[in-house]
């Protein structure tokens, strides 16, 4: 089958990051600085992405501010007509760099905050960061960028969702993404400590809905129920290999930022292949396109055109086979393991923090 054109490229410029959030979406095994793509590689990838049809670019990480060539990459992206979002913790966003990014034509900056409570925020980030984030947000506003605030929600901050939304509004955010933790990689390691209760989720949903009405026209609020608390899985970016490409710091092209955990797939690298070839021909992008790959109960299910069998990464991580139905689906024979995880959140809030492993000594 001929695939549609992709709309979005997430460029994970680096895995390096000053924060240690225990729900990080980067893989457990991260790329070190010396393995990262060079400036010219990224510029070539952006050009190829635009030619392929990509309209949206995310400059992400890790912490993308760590890359010294960020301004050059933003300039190149703007020249191609891409709508570019910088996804940052705010750390490293000095006035000089923010001004250069504005001059580069960057339009939109998304800053993460961990909580409205500074103490809890820093216990999650694993580092002193609240003051720097506030300063970064003020700069983003002063220089006229569009501002999004992104918050990952979990048991330790979900009860403060109302205060978090009000804080984002006070910061002058144009939009806030309230992203419930997705349990892959680091978050799966920390699932028992991150998992909220059903009562927390229900209360948070009510608060978010009320706030969405209250802030309508002023600040856009995005809140999606966590999949563990729903009956059917999420459609992963409109289906595997349909709209979305991730390029990891080392140049591996992925259909989803969590895809490297599917160890049965092999991923082509933008150092060796064009993005167009990878999109159309590579094994990883073709593996779960369409519905030929599906097993039951997905194969004969009318919902297969709605949620595409859910998340392949989650199916692999929890059931051991990426072709299986996402186990959050109530039609999956494995749904019991989701209900068990929801029913048994741990009492402790101990986390395994995100760190890049030191190289093995010989």
């Amino acid at each position: 089958m001929t695939p549609e054109r992709p709309t979005t490229l997430l460029a994970e410029l680096t895995h390096r990051c000053p924060l240690h959030c225990p729900y990080c979406s980067n893989p457990l095994e991260m790329i070190r600085a010396e393995g990262e793509l060079a400036t010219e590689d990224w510029k070539r990838v952006f050009t190829q992405a635009r030619t392929l049809g990509v309209l949206q670019l995310g400059l992400s990480g890790g912490e993308p501010m760590i890359r010294k060539d960020l301004e050059e990459l933003a300039t190149h992206a703007r020249g191609l007509g891409l709508y570019t979002t910088l996804v940052t913790s705010g750390l490293g966003l000095t006035r000089a760099r923010a001004e250069r990014l504005r001059d580069a034509g960057l339009e939109h900056i998304q800053v993460s905050i961990q909580d409205a409570d500074p103490e809890v925020a820093e216990s999650i980030a694993g580092v002193s960061s609240v003051k720097q984030k506030r300063a970064a947000v003020a700069l983003v506003k002063e220089l006229g960028f569009a501002l999004s605030i992104n918050v990952v929600l979990h048991r330790a901050n979900l009860d403060r969702i109302g205060a978090i939304i009000d804080l984002a509004a006070d910061m002058g955010a144009d939009r806030i993404e309230l992203a419930n933790t997705q349990y892959y990689g680091w978050a799966l390691e920390n699932r028992a400590s991150l998992m909220p209760t059903r009562e927390q989720v229900a209360a948070a949903q009510a608060t978010a809905e009320e706030a969405t009405r209250r802030y309508k026209g002023r600040m856009q609020i995005l809140f999606v129920l966590p999949d563990y608390f729903e009956q059917y899985p999420k459609p992963c970016y409109g289906g595997w290999g349909k709209l979305y490409i991730v390029v990891a710091p080392d140049g591996k092209a992925l259909p989803c930022h969590g895809a490297t955990q599917i160890t049965t797939l092999s991923f082509d690298n933008v150092r060796d292949r064009s993005l167009e070839w990878i999109w159309q021909e590579s094994q990883a992008f073709r593996a779960f396109r369409g519905d030929e790959w599906m097993r039951e109960p997905c194969r004969s299910c009318p919902r297969k055109t709605v949620d595409f069998g859910g998340c392949r990464c989650q199916a692999f991580a929890l059931t051991g086979a990426a072709e299986n139905t996402d186990p959050v689906c109530i039609l999956s024979p494995d749904r019991g393991m989701i209900d068990a995880a929801v029913a048994a959140p741990s009492d402790s809030l101990e986390y395994r923090y995100r760190v890049i492993a030191e190289p093995q000594r010989a």
């Binding site: 049809g53 949206q56 979002t85 144009d174 309508k216 026209g217």
Partner: protein
């Protein structure tokens, strides 16, 4: 959106042309709407000063038809998605 409403494009959205798909496009954070020529004609007249009625008047003259209901419906649809605001 009523005929008296003054539509304005969301500050975060940008009207552009996608040379790959050969279509006008409305770009905004984490999203894009591919437009047809009618959508483009409407959005090009959205400047934060003209009312819906005035926009419909200009287009009505251009197309020799009463397009008030169509323009209002189109902008209301985008307003529902928060891409258009009432200034």
């Amino acid at each position: 959106m009523s005929p008296e409403s003054i539509p304005t494009l969301w500050r975060l959205a940008r009207l552009d042309f996608d040379s790959v798909r050969n279509r006008p496009v409305l770009l905004y954070p984490e999203g894009a709407v591919l437009l047809n020529d009618t959508g483009k004609a409407i959005l090009e007249l959205v400047d934060g000063r003209r009312t819906v009625g005035e926009i419909a008047g200009i287009l009505g003259e251009r197309y020799q038809a009463d397009v008030t209901a169509d323009v209002s419906e189109y902008l209301s649809h985008l307003a529902e998605r928060e891409l258009i605001r009432d200034a």
